[in-house]
């Protein structure tokens, strides 16, 4: 637990620190050291990244695996042929990652030994429909909010069974930033009114605005 929280802190530090690379080296070392201790941890061990919250209101995640892009990765990927060498890929599928400042490689999240699965930092195998467990290993706060309804979105009625969206419904894991978008049209000006000058100088008197 201590090790994993220090893992997260190092990521945060890596963000701001000049010597991000060094921190990263450290980071991978920590992960390497940490992994064996974490494997044994129970699935719902409180305080564990990627954890589950049994006390959260029950929910189901709107499934994503039925989308064609998840069709059978093993059609092309055979067992044991995963190339663990971080590099720029030439495939037609995901080529690069714009997440966490170029510090991840595919196998940070994907399971090299079984390409149809993801893998958390604590070495748990998870299904594509459980990707929130992956995200939670680094974004524990957001993940907790999501479990309890403070992040993400409920797509069922407020009284019905709770169905919520997967993280990846809104964030492409390979490029998670939410892209800017065109807004809907301006609201109409009320009949009889005129649109006021935007942002009058803060110094102007209220009656001059």
């Amino acid at each position: 637990m201590i090790i994993t929280s220090c893992y997260i802190t190092s990521i945060k530090n890596a963000e701001s620190a000049e010597g991000g690379r060094i921190v990263l080296r450290l980071l991978s070392m920590i992960v390497a050291v940490a992994t064996p201790c974490i494997i044994g941890a129970g699935e719902s061990d409180p305080g564990q990244p990627g954890q589950r919250y049994p006390e959260a209101p029950e929910f189901t995640v709107q499934p994503r695996k039925d989308k064609p892009k998840f069709d059978d990765c093993s059609r092309c990927h055979e067992e044991g042929d995963t190339d663990p060498e971080p590099r720029r890929l030439k495939t037609r599928h995901v080529r690069e990652i714009d997440h966490g400042g170029n510090r991840f490689w595919c196998l940070t999240c994907h399971d090299g030994d079984n390409i149809d699965y993801l893998r958390t930092s604590s070495n748990e195998n998870v299904d594509f429909d459980e990707s929130y467990l992956i995200c939670g290993s680094c974004h524990a706060d957001r993940q907790k909010d999501w479990y309890f309804g403070g992040h993400g979105k409920r797509v069922s009625g407020w009284q019905d069974e709770r169905v919520i969206l997967a993280c990846t419904e809104c964030h492409d894991p390979h490029k998670p930033a939410v892209k800017p978008r065109q807004p809907r049209p301006q609201p109409p000006v009320r009949i009889g009114l005129e649109r006021q000058e935007n942002h009058p100088p803060a110094t102007s008197r209220a009656w001059n605005r």
Partner: protein, 312 residues
């Protein structure tokens, strides 16, 4: 009547004066009408309907039969005015429920999807929007400098944040106190509703509302038949007469049947969190208990059931 369950007592005096005034007026008008117009003078609706409109009781005082008759009259009128069939139902508040809303301002990106969805759901006239998304300078809470008419290629714009405002469903609503005829009140689920047929259009409530969340409708929505949302309720989104005050009612036509409000459903970011404040397991309760929430103009003591919070 079962309806008494949630009926708030209304002073008889108010009712008495309003009704006796209207009755006298009605008698005079009826005489004039009888003399001048044979039929069709009421924009096509039958004289009987026109009279029933005129003498309609306050929503909270109608008997079940009167209410039923009123609902079907509203449906008939909509058919005649918009050329489309609608259903208008009565949706009393649910027991053990008080609604609350919270908006995550670090997730709202100013898309205005909620504004549009609300307009469609509630059949709004073209110059009224119940929701306004305010564009604010980062680090400022000065509502007077907010821009509701922002127009950009893409949002969010750097250095700005977005603050959606709508009726706050105050628990201590100044608008309700201002209404001289009790045409607006707070139901047991905390939603401040309007009996549009009882409203006399004086607009005192608009002056009393510190959030500019009430709107006087100068026009009837000029919606083509296929754009009308036919799923309506009396106290919410049904066709309103012109010249009355309307506002956000947390989509009573949906939420009192367990659905989410249209704005929540439309928001792609998940910034809007709606639910039952009395349910300790609800998402809204999680937010209120675990986030640094605030309300607008809290010092006025209006006790809005509408919160804002930010992740950072």
């Amino acid at each position: 009547m079962a309806r008494d369950k949630y009926t708030k007592k209304m002073p008889d005096a108010v009712d008495y004066y309003r009704r006796s005034f209207l009755k006298r007026l009605g008698v005079t008008t009826a005489a004039a009408v009888g003399a001048t117009y044979a039929h069709g003078a009421w924009g096509g609706k039958s004289l009987a309907d026109a009279f029933s409109d005129f003498f309609q009781q306050h929503y909270q005082r109608m008997t079940a039969e009167e209410l039923q008759e009123t609902l079907s009259r509203i449906e008939r009128k909509a058919q005649q005015q918009y050329g489309t069939g609608i259903t208008c139902t009565d949706t009393p508040p649910l027991e053990g429920v008080v609604f609350g809303y919270a908006i995550n301002i670090s997730k709202c990106k100013g898309y205005r999807d909620c504004v549009e969805a609300c307009a469609e759901e509630n059949n709004l006239p073209s110059d009224i929007r119940y929701i306004h998304v305010l564009e604010m300078d980062e680090g400022s809470m000065n509502l007077e400098l907010a821009d509701r008419y922002y127009e950009h290629e893409t949002v969010p714009v750097e250095g700005k944040y977005y603050l959606p405002v709508q009726c706050m469903q105050c628990d201590n609503p100044p608008c309700v106190k201002a209404c001289p005829v009790e045409a607006t009140w707070m139901d047991s689920d905390g939603i401040v509703v309007v009996d549009y047929d009882w409203c006399i259009g004086c607009r005192y409530c608009m002056a009393a509302c510190p959030y500019s969340a009430r709107f006087f409708n100068w026009t009837r929505p000029d919606l083509p038949a296929d754009r009308i949302n036919p799923d309506t309720n009396y106290i919410g989104n049904r066709p309103r007469p012109v010249g009355v005050v309307e506002k956000c009612h947390f989509c009573t036509q949906r939420t009192r049947k367990g659905r989410q409000p249209a704005c929540q459903e439309a928001c792609p970011t998940g910034a809007r969190i709606f639910g039952n404040l009395l349910d300790p397991n609800s998402e809204i309760r999680y937010v209120l208990e675990n986030k640094a929430v605030f309300r607008l103009k809290e010092d006025l003591g209006t006790e809005p059931k509408f919160w804002y919070f930010s992740d950072r």
